[in-house]
């Protein structure tokens, strides 16, 4: 690694890690929106990944290469439990159920002693490396791009545009939506584990409703035309508060105004260029 890059990463490590992790979270939001569903549980899935990975590291001292994949298990199980009943229905049932999930989990983290209670878990070793975060982010973008350009991506778009017509085309609605939700839980779980192992401390309030809305805003700003779009949205919304540091408390106002403007004037996001999906 060249010296200047090393120096840069050292100085801005937190920000660089946060960019990559928020990119993964934006992708986890993207997968759900891509099948026309709204989830406000991405932060909750992230929290499950963060807590389970932190416990595996702190209590069992497992190697991080093992902790990372295992930290997806809890989010996936919760996604199955919530998605199976709600995704058979059309409408906002998933959104409502996932808001509930976030709040229930917050209460659990707060009240269970071995989860650290209100103090959270601290002393988590900093094991998330720059290359892990960006390697996973790059791999996730690539996989979602390849899937998006295939027949599976076509089926997802059909379900999003007109679920009834999609079903008449022979597409299994529940399976398509559940598959997307599980993929999103995996991505959020990875982001949670990476986040926990790059900040040394996690607490119950980091995975509630507010971060869920922030994750949604990544995808709203960037749009969902390609997997790259929400990631760029995440980058912008992560960098912006840093650039606006001088305005201190007004930063959140700026954020909010940008989201409102994006929804009003850019309903397809900042990057609406569609994927080419013309095969052969």
């Amino acid at each position: 690694m060249p010296v200047w890059l090393d120096n840069f990463l050292w100085t801005y490590q937190n920000l660089v890690h946060a960019l990559g992790i928020n990119g993964l979270l934006a992708l986890s939001m993207y997968v759900v929106l891509a099948v026309g569903q709204l989830s406000l549980g991405q932060a909750a899935f992230m929290g499950l990944g963060a807590y389970s990975s932190a416990l595996l590291t702190l209590k069992l001292d497992l190697p991080f290469a093992l902790v990372l994949p295992v930290s997806c298990v809890a989010p996936v199980l919760f996604a199955l439990a919530i998605g199976t009943p709600t995704l058979r229905l059309s409408g906002v049932y998933l959104a409502i159920a996932t808001i509930g999930l976030g709040e229930v989990l917050r209460a659990v983290y707060l009240n269970v002693d071995w989860l650290g209670g209100a103090l959270g878990l601290s002393g988590i070793p900093l094991r998330a490396e720059f290359w892990m975060i960006y390697g996973l982010l790059g791999a996730a973008i690539l996989v979602l791009w390849l899937v998006g350009r295939s027949g599976i991506g076509r089926a997802m778009e059909a379900v999003r545009e007109d679920a009834t017509a999609a079903q008449v085309m022979g597409i299994n609605l529940a399976r398509t939506r559940l598959g997307a939700l599980l993929a999103s839980a995996v991505l959020a779980g990875l982001a949670g584990a990476l986040g926990a192992h790059s900040s040394s401390f996690i607490g119950p309030n980091e995975y509630g409703f507010e971060p869920a809305v922030t994750i949604l805003s990544f995808a709203l700003l960037g749009g969902i035309a390609t997997p790259l779009a929400p990631v760029l949205g995440a980058f912008i919304l992560t960098l912006l508060p840093e650039l606006l540091r001088g305005f201190s408390d007004l930063r959140l106002v700026f954020n909010g105004v940008i989201i409102v403007l994006a929804v009003l004037f850019l309903p397809e996001g900042l990057f609406p260029l569609r994927m080419r999906r013309r095969a052969a």
């Binding site: 390849l146 076509r154 085309m169 022979g170 299994n172 999906r277 013309r278 095969a279």
Partner: protein, 267 residues
């Protein structure tokens, strides 16, 4: 001979209203079968019951003698059922070709891993599906528009696209919900030719249509519904003469007057 499609005492009840009232209908294979009746007779509801978009309150739907009543719409599609909608439901943001490829969903066999790895099997299948989709577009005469965005097509072509998408998997039975609605006479004539070609290719057609000239022109069999009940089933010529059909369309008085006049003219 068992009919390709049969309904047995098929009933759909909405809070006190009988939209479809114990209908026993049979559609024979290799025919163009028209389903007609005044507005609100239950034709579209019957279509939804057959394609699985609504559950029946009572009764059963049989495809080739097999009870498909418990199956979801996507499973029925896999068994050879296809349909279009009265209010066109194409995927507007996709290209014309992509729309037809979506109709070939039941033919896809390669899984997620092969898709991500772009294995030879994936590429072969994708090529075969694209070839089949182009055939379907060719059949309805939309080949030249394959790369156009579907939403930009004029109305008549959107209808044709919906038919191509439904026909792509070579279904056993095609349900057309008012295919001629909003078409001009030239387009309607072309549509009649297309429906005949579809039948000759081996797909049975069941269609709802209000354009009686069109129905009389292409239907081999006719079923007439009124207030959810089946009031006539038989050849189209006989449907025109049947007193119960006249009454349904024109009301009791008018039908009686016409019948009386017919007796005077043709003793």
């Amino acid at each position: 001979m068992t009919a390709l499609l049969q309904t047995r005492t098929l009933t759909r009840r909405y809070a006190g209203l009988l939209a479809v009232d114990s209908v026993d209908m049979a559609v024979q294979a290799g025919r163009v079968h028209a389903l007609i009746g005044p507005n609100g007779a239950g034709k579209t509801t019957l279509f939804n019951l057959i394609s699985g978009l609504e559950p029946p309150s009572e009764g059963a739907v049989l495809l080739r003698g097999r009870d498909i009543t418990p199956l979801r719409a996507d499973r029925r599609t896999a068994l050879g059922l296809a349909r279009t909608f009265q209010n066109i439901r194409i995927f507007g943001a996709m290209t014309v070709l992509e729309n037809v490829l979506t109709g070939l969903q039941p033919r896809r066999t390669v899984g997620l891993i092969q898709t991500i790895l772009r294995t030879p099997a994936f590429r072969r299948e994708e090529r075969a599906l694209v070839a089949r989709a182009r055939e379907a577009l060719e059949m309805v005469g939309l080949s030249a528009r394959a790369e156009a965005q579907a939403a930009t097509l004029p109305y008549g072509e959107q209808r044709l696209l919906e038919i191509a998408r439904a026909m792509a998997p070579e279904p056993a039975l095609l349900l057309l919900d008012e295919p001629a609605a909003g078409m001009n006479p030239a387009e309607t004539a072309a549509l009649a030719g297309l429906v005949r070609r579809i039948r000759d290719l081996g797909t049975t057609v069941l269609l709802v249509e209000h354009d009686m000239g069109f129905v009389m022109d292409i239907a081999d069999d006719v079923t007439v519904l009124n207030f959810g009940r089946l009031i006539f089933q038989g050849p189209p010529a006989a449907a025109r003469q049947a007193p119960e059909v006249m009454t349904a369309y024109l009301g009791q008085k008018m039908a009686a007057r016409l019948a009386a006049r017919a007796r005077k003219v043709v003793p």
